[in-house]
């Protein structure tokens, strides 16, 4: 059995208890809702863009530790990146969560997001960690539909 602390790393606990960028943004350029029907997690994501660069990202909502920390750290990670860069980051993040640890893929650039590597051992929690990212995708597509993990 894996150690609990692999999942609930101190960084994750910290972001859950004091989520960064946790506020609505009334003048957002992009906005989307995310919902994980399994656990009832709901979040709203707000983005401001300059050209194709994300200049600001905030969120509100209620969710589990993993989904809240993931949203918090995502808003930090994508700020200043272009849309393409953010999408690449999500791709790497997804690989981090779902691919056996010894595969030889470069996950350079995930930086702090690597604390979510422990989620790999908890397949039912992958959806919690990716909810914010799915919502980001939806927001960037200006998709008015809710993002859902299920």
């Amino acid at each position: 059995m894996s150690d609990l602390r692999d999942l609930y790393q101190q960084t994750i606990i910290d972001h859950t208890r004091r989520p960064r960028n946790f506020r609505p943004m009334p003048d957002a350029d992009h906005h989307a809702r995310g919902h994980n029907p399994l656990c009832g997690d709901r979040l709203e994501l707000y983005l401001k863009l300059s050209g194709d660069r994300i200049t600001e990202a905030t969120f509100t909502g209620a969710g589990c530790a993993i989904s809240t920390a993931s949203a918090s750290m995502m808003t930090e990670a994508v700020k200043g990146r272009t849309i393409a860069e953010a999408q690449l980051l999500f791709e790497k993040f997804r690989i981090l969560l779902t691919t056996p640890i010894h595969e030889n893929v470069s996950l350079d650039g995930l930086d702090k997001l690597e604390v979510f590597g422990g989620v790999r051992e908890y397949p039912v929690r992958v959806k919690c960690a990716t909810l914010a990212w799915h919502t980001l995708e939806a927001a960037l597509k200006r998709d008015d539909h809710e993002a859902k993990t299920e």
């Binding site: 059995m1 609930y8 656990c39 589990c64 908890y122």
Partner: protein, 419 residues
């Protein structure tokens, strides 16, 4: 720890109670070597005693044949075993007539069957279907689908903060063209035991029929459909020590005979011509095709097992466990119970301040404690309490104070992780 219950602790009329350790020995999964778990998700599904597993295995190994149509011995034996199971299950819920017990795939199918037969035939535009705020999705969505087709209207009996039905409001709703009441016997989230006998009487005074969702009651207390006075009673085998894929529906003969069939196919017919077909008598009219033969036989064995334990004893033991669990859980800082009905079964929903139920579930799992977290198929009830989810520990007679201690210690660990 509470003492293992003894004969001395029970009412003099009740038979002496059994020993928890003996009962646990009947359940192979509870002493599974790889991973002994404090299994506290009994409201989702129960574990299975050896007797049930063996009954289905025996059927496949020595008596497997299709039923109701064969003249050869194997088929006759399979038919007899299947029909004997019907007799047992009918008796277990107090059905006055064994032909009134229809085997279905589960509680959900039983409710859908009523909606799509009795419901489609009898519900008129504008008539009321009365549900309650604490219903399981399986006792909501079939009525929504029916309402869409018929123009019937759904009304909801509100509940108090403690999780008890507002009977005054129920009375009020009954006066407004109520055709059907569909209510759970025991809430799978709150544990509330609803006053069905009273509600049936009130429904009938207003000319409404009443369906009872017994998924959570049959496994945990003595049930007698005559005493409940209801018109339909639905339940699931897998929650009462039986196999998956089998359940039951009871209704009185008169109602069943007047109902149109549900699914069409083999066995439910009397004659088939392309110009038209005629139906078999009950219960077969509602059992199209090859049924879950092994499942029914397994459910029969489950009923034998539970009858042997005695459902009064089951309820008694579970009440003791519940009292112990509530007392111990009160020592956990930030723990809030969801549901505090006066009449309550051994289901405990709770939240921990600042910690999401999903995280509680994951951490408890690491501590070998299995509870359920989420909306428990009761989204409208979550909406009522303005919470996305709860953590739920649901007890069965084979649980022990040690299981509850494991839960309590696990919760302390949860709080530590988030400290």
């Amino acid at each position: 720890m509470i003492e293992a219950p003894t004969a001395a602790g029970t009412q003099s009329a009740a038979p002496p109670v059994w020993n928890a350790a003996d009962v646990r020995r009947d359940f192979p999964i509870l002493h599974h070597v790889d991973r002994p778990v404090a299994y506290l998700d009994n409201a989702a599904t129960s574990q299975k005693p050896d007797a049930v597993i063996a009954a289905t295995t025996r059927y496949y190994k020595s008596a497997n044949a299709n039923i109701h149509r064969g003249v050869y011995r194997l088929s006759v034996e399979a038919t007899d075993a299947f029909e004997a199971a019907r007799t047992k299950v009918a008796a277990f819920i107090g059905a006055p007539d064994r032909d009134e017990l229809i085997f279905t795939g589960g509680c959900t199918e039983s409710i859908n069957l009523v909606a799509m037969t009795w419901g489609l035939e009898n519900l008129r535009k504008g008539e009321r279907i009365i549900l309650t705020q604490m219903e399981h999705h399986s006792n909501i969505v079939p009525w929504q689908l029916l309402a869409q087709r018929t123009g019937a209207v759904i009304e909801v009996v509100p509940i108090s903060a403690a999780g008890e039905l507002d009977i005054g409001a129920y009375q009020q709703l009954l006066t407004q063209k109520a055709a059907l009441v569909a209510v759970t016997h025991i809430s799978n989230v709150l544990g509330t035991i609803n006053p069905i006998a009273v509600m049936s009487k009130m429904a009938h005074e207003h000319g409404a029929k009443i369906l009872v969702d017994g998924a959570q009651s049959v496994p945990h207390m003595p049930v007698d459909v005559k005493q409940l006075g209801c018109d339909f009673f639905a339940f699931a085998g897998h929650k009462m020590c039986g196999p998956t894929g089998i359940g039951g529906l009871w209704a009185p003969r008169g109602i069943l005979e007047a109902m149109p069939p549900y699914q069409g196919g083999g066995d439910m017919i009397s004659t088939v011509e392309f110009a038209g077909s005629t139906w078999n008598k009950i219960p077969h009219k509602f059992e199209a095709g090859t049924p879950n033969i092994a499942g029914a036989i397994g459910l029969g064995a489950a009923v034998d097992y539970l009858s042997h334990l005695d459902m009064r004893q089951v309820a008694h033991i579970e009440a003791q466990l519940l009292a112990y669990a509530e007392k111990q859980l009160q020592t956990i800082p930030g723990l809030r119970f969801v549901g505090a009905a006066a009449d309550k079964a051994s289901v405990i929903s709770f939240t921990l301040d600042g910690i999401h139920p999903h995280d509680i579930g994951t951490i408890l799992d690491q501590e070998h404690v299995a509870i359920r977290t989420g909306h428990h198929c009761c989204q409208p009830l979550m909406d009522f309490y303005h919470i996305p989810a709860t953590a739920r520990a649901s007890l069965a007679f084979y649980n022990t104070p040690a299981d509850i201690d494991a839960l309590v210690n696990g919760l302390r660990r949860v709080i530590e992780v988030f400290a």
